[in-house]
Symmetry: C2
Subunit: 292 residues, 2 copies
């Protein structure tokens, strides 16, 4: 048990925010954890979890006196939240977020920054298809990457935050915003978009066929439905805020899909087999990298 910050405030008690609060408690990383959420339903659910010293609906009040403030809300809500809370933060405090898009978060938060607080955006590469406070669990971040954007923060401030993140179970990695958004567009955002699409295609099938697609879903489709059951508002915001990188990767994907489509139509088995053989290698690389 290593105390890193005296007082940590977590705003937004969804899957990520709740898991952070639980993980702070597990690691003894903070003297006090204040949780905040504007929804009264969420407030009720959080009170049942018994994870916080204090719950405060108003995020401005919740951030007062905090040494670290974590904004764990959908990326579309980060700018507005920053505007609300930054004037109430104490001098020398650290502000971070957990958003899946970083260029947009930098853009939306920057107008509200103060010279005497440290702005240290971050992104835990962790999550499940479930959402809401009851979906949170303390080991969510164990062994998962947590991207940190140091910007122009002092090294001592960045290091202290990285120690905190390591205490949550994560492996830290520093990155630039534009590179982050490009990597995530392919590893996370495009797969989610495609999964949402194919499951959406199934939704529109005639009833009998749709029922049988559900019944016989075990052969590949089921994996897509898991991904496509992720939080709709969070993902709406991701696509609206990483639109440039997602559209670029989507363009590449569509070209590659057309190539395969044409190979099927023209019965070009050699082209199919060649691509299917190359993709196997990537899987091996992931297993070798210990990411499976």
């Amino acid at each position: 048990m290593t105390l890193i910050y005296d007082k940590v405030t977590v705003i937004g008690m969804g899957l990520i925010g709740t898991s952070i609060a639980l993980s702070i408690r597990r690691g003894g990383l903070a003297g006090q954890v204040i949780c905040s959420d504007c929804s009264t339903n969420v407030a009720k659910a959080v009170s049942r979890l018994n994870i916080t010293n204090q719950f405060e609906a108003d995020p401005a009040i919740a951030t007062k006196d905090a040494d670290l403030v974590i904004m764990a809300v959908p990326v579309g809500a980060v700018g507005k939240l920053a505007e609300q809370i930054i004037p109430h933060m104490k001098s020398g405090a650290v502000l971070t977020d957990t958003g899946s898009t970083k260029i947009s978060v930098l853009r939306d938060v920057s107008p509200h920054l103060r010279e005497d607080i440290y702005w240290l955006p971050s992104h835990p590469l962790a999550g499940t298809e479930h959402s809401g406070p009851s979906a949170g669990f303390e080991s969510l971040f164990d062994g998962r990457y947590w991207i940190v954007l140091p910007l122009d923060c002092e090294e001592v401030v960045v290091s202290k935050f990285e120690t905190f993140v390591t205490g949550l179970g994560s492996v830290t990695e520093r990155m630039q915003a534009d590179y982050h958004d490009k990597v995530l567009a392919l590893t996370s955002h495009l797969p989610h978009l495609i999964a949402y699409t194919i499951v959406g295609t199934a939704v529109d099938l005639e009833t009998q066929l749709k029922n049988d697609v559900i019944r016989f879903s075990a052969s590949g489709f089921r994996d897509f439905t898991r991904i496509a059951s992720s939080d709709p508002v969070m993902w709406r915001d991701v696509f609206l805020n990483n639109d440039a990188a997602v559209l670029e990767m989507l363009q590449r994907f569509s070209e590659d899909l057309s190539y395969l489509q044409r190979a099927i139509r023209w019965q070009e088995g050699d082209k199919l087999e060649e691509i299917f053989t190359r993709t196997r290698e990537i899987r091996r690389s992931i297993i070798d990298a210990g990411q499976d």
Copy 2:
């Protein structure tokens, strides 16, 4: 332990064929199991597994005197194999296959059929991303659907085969070839095609970005790489032989993807959220259907 057939021959000792042989042994479903594969490497691997009373490289010799012959080869190889073995089968024997496409298998086998054998095509909805004899395991079919196409077989023959399949651990389901191919196009073939595509897109990225995509693959992409590491030859044959249904489903998918792409470009968050909310329901249906 219930003996269903005296002598069963399994041709093609990949993941499916090997698992069938192992599962027959587990259930005591046959007095004798003959395994056959034309590859000497596969023959060596099978001999190490100690699963068969007899291994016979020549499929024609392997099928002699068998009461049930199972063709567990890629669908592109089924026609040729049927031509080789059917003249050597004993009168009254049952011939089945395990192929993922059924219209093409019916088309390719029918020219070689004999009046005095029972042709009963089938398809176990089971598999993993691994292939080859060492990937097989006896519980592969437990609780998984096994589609049977009764065609014009006598009911007593179909029922006996279904009892055998149930003994392998599966749940049987009867279906028509064209409906099977349509359901599988969406539940299995299209998801595989898409997974192959997106992983292929990653293969073509510049080195640094590709390495980081592998490194940070945990956020959705990893699920696709698992699917896209499936056997290249088997899947080449699936797409070449279920081309009509796959291309039809792909057309629907592409339209739906363009709709989402346009919604992202025009920042139409309401459209995205509406689709993402509807796809969640499908997941619930799958969980309710006990398919997860």
